[in-house]
Subunit: 441 residues, 4 copies
């Protein structure tokens, strides 16, 4: 066997792989960052010669860019370029000076109509009593449907909610010479968890590193850094904390060939099985038991049939390879997210759902929905903006210490929508109700 | 064998299963619908006695409900109930009389800041030239990141887009006595396609039934009715058409035990493998080849490394069980959807993506992203509302005959965001840029 | 816009991409194939010098290699190399001359014990009456468990089976300049289907090309060639037919840059959602209604609880991201496959299953299992070997015209195992029965 | 809010749910088990009257049932029933007395031809040097293909293997009153882990309970008990241990309504995302770097093209929703499993694979495959049977302390098959080689 040819990494290969970590590169990188920022800032300047100069969106440096004047300039620029006149985009009631950190190139607003549904009767651990839910949408029947569900839930005694987990991730991937080096790194990570945690937490007051999961594949080591993030949704917070932790790891563990801050198993803004299983954001369940007579009236069918049809729906979701065996959690979540300044793109993950129902021994209809990756915050992000803050305040959910309450309200709202639509589908009501409420020109 | 006991459906069972289709039931159902609508309309009346009378959201019948006055009344009602005062929610510039079909219980608006990114240089079949993209978001760095991507794409000659498919579904499920009856039904459906198509199309001018896919499971037959829907996203249109088609089928085919209009393989508002494979809405690809020098400057790494890292990201997505091996398509799609009056809940399906890259023989970076289930419309839904219509007009995409152009613009925008974020992640730029732009209090 | 730089494929790139199709390459390829075959045949010669000469497994050219003498030589060679003496491996009752096409380097046999379970009472369209099922396994309790299930099904009147689909695939992928070229190719494929079909079918008597599905992604076009394959499982048949069809396509359609015969969406020897949805091999359902008293005795629980627990199992499978919401279809399929000369590696796909149950209106237990990608043959492959042929004959399923009957028997067997294990799990019997029957040492 | 109706479990409901745990039931259950066993044992007796008496498979109580005489009786019985004569099935070289615990109703054997491939040059941590691999198959070209891959790997210096994890599960599900009760149970489980571990380990010498994962959904709590199981595959071992642990838990924790030993997230004999992510059995990687000249000769294409084509294959697998982005791991695993007495039904899980490749900086081809849920044993199950034991001995892998070595050999074998087939597909060799070697009459 000794005579068999062996494959060794040549010095050239080795050198290259460490190119990422040389001092020279760090310098180059710093310069590169500065240059890059600059080009963003000065995107109104020449791009590829005089011919495109006119195309730059007007922008000034610093806070002055966040003003009505600059917004008007930008809108005027786009109007001139397109020959289209706008009126409504420039109608807003807040001072653009509040916007840094929320948007760049601010030019106007989208006005999304809000309708209230309610009262939603909550029997949560944080959210108790009645709430009127602001739903920002342009889809007819959505508010009516959630409202109807809330009426049913009200008559059933309200919705019970339970938060089962709470964790936010950043998931870097590390490259090694081979699978053994990757595995050894995994052992080292376990042994140095407390030090890593300490580094990560230097960057944040509210973020706490709970644990680091390992998913080795070949010579790669995918890690999942799991944090709690207080009242913030926390994606940026955990990104920064993980970056600092990784830089420290890199400085201590010499066998790393390369790492990048996301190996795509976080999976940020993307639904995934890993997030359904291991939770991203909040894992929360909403439950209700609806009296037989009530559900039968609404769905136009006996409880047995309703329960059976849920098996069919679940089978359909399983067959289709979906992440959701419910009906339309995305509708309520999206409308609430827009109204309350959540990161609406997270609907992609947050709408994952696991429905489980039973006919109880008293013949009633037990319905539960679990949202395993609901990403919400009551602090940071868009939660402090004008209408968004007001909507959170109407729910008693603005600011610190409110995220659990808000989580429960979202889950309760989702449940009402499920009851309403699923009943309508069984009753054959669906098409007709869309016809009446959902007409658009 | 003759002596073996056989299982026959009893007459009682048979009777029950046909209960759904008796004349009596249809009458009952009609009454039920009327009553149901009524309770929605009169949700301000007593729910369970005097004690809750105060809780009803004010509402009047007919068009009069869509007025500033009624909106104010509702807002005042919620303010009184909660003790919270609002100011910004009531600031809007349009006449609520335009809202029927888009929302119920209209009470005010969410003001979502819009920033423009661009110019996006499009080399589509429908969208050609430069566009400034309105992005409605509260997430800092989003506009900056897409803007940076657009600059890179501009310098690379623009983004090429191709629409590969266009189809919208409603997927009912039919119950039968056994699997043979289900299979026989499938044969009948094939034989009667033209008649079914004729019935379905009586309900719509623009919807065309293209084909019906069959997915038999046990004694159930899941069908997928595939339509083209013109410039509308079309979910409501295909729901109504399929309902009418199914009612006709039911009247002609006597062995059906029961059917419901959705067996959850549509899969509406839910991402799924079936929609990635078979398309829902538009299937569209955006492509670009970025010169080596340019991508290396942005990503801070050679093309080989960038290509390799994409394999790692894809592997991560595959490992995680995600529906998207890209970075964050949901961000751009959501921001554009909010701005242009799309059904934002469809982000759950529309953000599915398939990324494929290559190092070309000239050493440059070919990047493509395919959105297999992008649901968009330029007509109907929220596209006619005040700010939404203006944003579509700024893109030259409002109204009939524009949906392909808009589809291409969405795909082009998504590609720019992918290039920008993926480069930033590789460059290590990510955290830092969030730190600078994405601060929120 | 005209001034924007555009990206064109250079002539160098173009040349390279066509390199795959030059005459020179075809010659080179032919030589390469000859050389490659040679090295396999002469694998007993020197590999990398004198030191490994001794390691070559003895082999002679042509039919003479399939003899007891050569088998003994090879076994002796391996025994000498390892210092281990074997006795049982060389005990077999057939003439090795029957083995060409089934194995290379034949050296002996694995003796897998067979136990019969039965009678299985079949109420199929092809399989009718009682069958004794040969199960080749080394897992204690497997035969007992299936046997018990068959007893229950017997008492319930037998299992009803229905074949819903029958299709085998090869799925090549074609590379193009860009997504538009890929899409245009798709149009061409549709237009030339009959010609493609004619070419494909020149290679086979029993294989028929049914249709070609298209799955475009970026500039790639994934195709799925769907065939019926008579009584053979047909993977090799469709590989050859598709190869010939693709070579013809390549000769006619000049824009193809490259193609390979599998783009991994077949998905051969790999379970997948696409095969569950679109069928691979046979799609077959087995159904039974078990009287309430009988299932309650076996499962030790009322029908309501059994039905409810199936919902929990399905939810678990959905949560886990499995391809099977049943219990252990792989057990029966594997044991039958080994006994009857099927390609056992196909258990990976064939064991996918969709279970759907109901409590009937008479209170009994309806159970169905659908195998959407069951790959079986009664002709070709290992079906003609000594014990394998006997087992097929005992089922009345050897040779032409028998594949549907065999398909039904497999499905019926699987159902019995599901009833048995699921009942045992509910009854808590599981562990205990393994303890009694499944001891090994 | 106090006036809102609340839903309480009635005493009737409560009673029913505890029915599962009453003493009466335990007695009933014991009787039931005894009766059930009896019916299996006496399955040759009347089933439903005289007419079926003849159908019972002959059987005697106790060890005497495992004899040539009884096997012949059973075979004769089946022959008589079917009118088919068999010869080969009764040819075996071992004493049936060794079979208790491996099969019931033993009647004969399947003779599966074995061919050796090799030498496989292993550079593992446990398996070092050259091995000849016994592959039991009836699929032509399989041995030739693996053999060719082994030649390539030999010339590349052998395959490096690394075991990254080792864990076997049983995953019970517990039912509660509501989600809060389920969550509280989860807390209790964490607090009592050491006691649970102690109970579980009373049932086994080699099994160790490592940890218990929690997956709450609604009012259900799915648990995953993770064990190490020494040299046994361990499914039965962990089933028994978990049963005992759960019975103890049930006796201590009064809020449990019901539990069953598997909630289908194990997922035994079923591929799943959870097992790919969290490992089932062994997680093992095999790696090789193949010199550019060598891979180019075999695949007939430059390394760049080979690497690019792997991206296409991975994309295809991702698109298709497969559990494997490789080519055909199931082939080698199945053939080795049959030869060595593994539980072949586990191919369904064990064939899951994650392939990752690179072009190295020296231009060579790095290839790795990770098997995340490979279930193997060298002790127990079928490993002690006649030919199976011999095959394990030829690999130096029979008995205690050998499971890691065997794991590495399986992984190494799989890698060779991947290199071989993937190269053949790219070279266009595939069809042709099947034509030459894989003909069957």
């Amino acid at each position: 066997m000794a005579s068999a040819p062996t494959r060794l990494a040549t010095s050239r290969e080795t050198l290259f792989n460490f190119w990422f970590f040389t001092t020279a590169r760090i310098e180059k990188f710093r310069e590169h960052l500065i240059r890059l920022k600059d080009t963003v800032v000065r995107s109104d300047t020449t791009i590829t010669g005089e011919t495109t100069m006119r195309k730059g969106i007007p922008r000034v440096s610093g806070p002055a860019d966040y003003s009505r004047e600059m917004a008007e300039k930008r809108l005027a620029f786009v109007e001139k370029f397109t020959g289209v006149k706008t009126h409504h985009l420039r109608q807003y009631s807040f001072d653009p000076a509040m916007l840094p950190g929320n948007i760049e190139h601010f030019s106007g607003v989208a006005q999304i109509p809000i309708g209230f549904a309610g009262p939603l009767l909550m029997n949560g651990e944080y959210a108790k009593g009645e709430f009127f839910i602001p739903l920002a949408t342009t889809e007819g029947t959505l508010v009516a449907s959630y409202n109807r569900g809330m009426k049913v839930i009200y008559e059933s005694g309200g919705v019970k909610t339970t938060i089962q987990d709470d964790v936010m991730q950043r998931a870097p991937v590390f490259h090694f010479e081979d699978a053994r080096a990757s595995r050894n790194f995994g052992i080292w990570i376990k042994e140095h968890f407390l030090e890593i945690k300490a580094r990560a937490e230097t960057t944040t007051r509210s973020g706490k590193l709970r644990d680091i999961e390992q998913y080795p594949v070949g010579k790669l080591m995918f890690l999942r850094f799991n944090y709690t993030t207080g009242d913030a949704a926390g994606q940026n917070m955990v990104g920064k904390a993980t970056f600092v932790a990784c830089e420290w790891i890199k400085s201590k563990y010499s066998d790393i060939r390369r790492y990048v801050l996301s190996g795509n198993i976080d999976t940020d803004k993307k639904p995934s099985r890993i997030n359904i299983l291991r939770t991203r954001g909040k894992r929360v369940t909403a439950e209700v038991t609806i009296p037989a007579a009530l559900i039968q009236e609404i769905a136009g069918a006996p409880v047995d049939i309703i329960v059976q049809q849920r098996q069919v729906s679940t089978l359909g979701s399983f067959l289709a390879g979906s992440n959701n065996n419910g009906s339309h959690s995305a509708n309520g979540i999206t409308a609430l997210f827009i109204a309350t300044g959540q990161d609406v793109a997270n609907v992609s993950e947050s709408s994952a759902a696991l429905v489980y129902v039973e006919k109880t021994l008293t013949g009633d209809y037990y319905f539960s929905i679990t949202l395993p990756s609901l990403i919400v915050g009551t602090f940071g992000g868009g939660t402090g903006l004008a209408t968004q803050k007001e909507c959170l305040e109407l729910l008693g959910c603005h600011g610190a210490g409110k995220v659990q309450k808000f989580t429960e309200i979202v889950a309760g709202t989702v449940l009402c929508g499920e009851i309403s639509l699923a009943s309508a589908v069984i009753a054959g009501d669906w098409v007709t109700s869309h016809d009446k409420y959902g007409r658009n020109r």
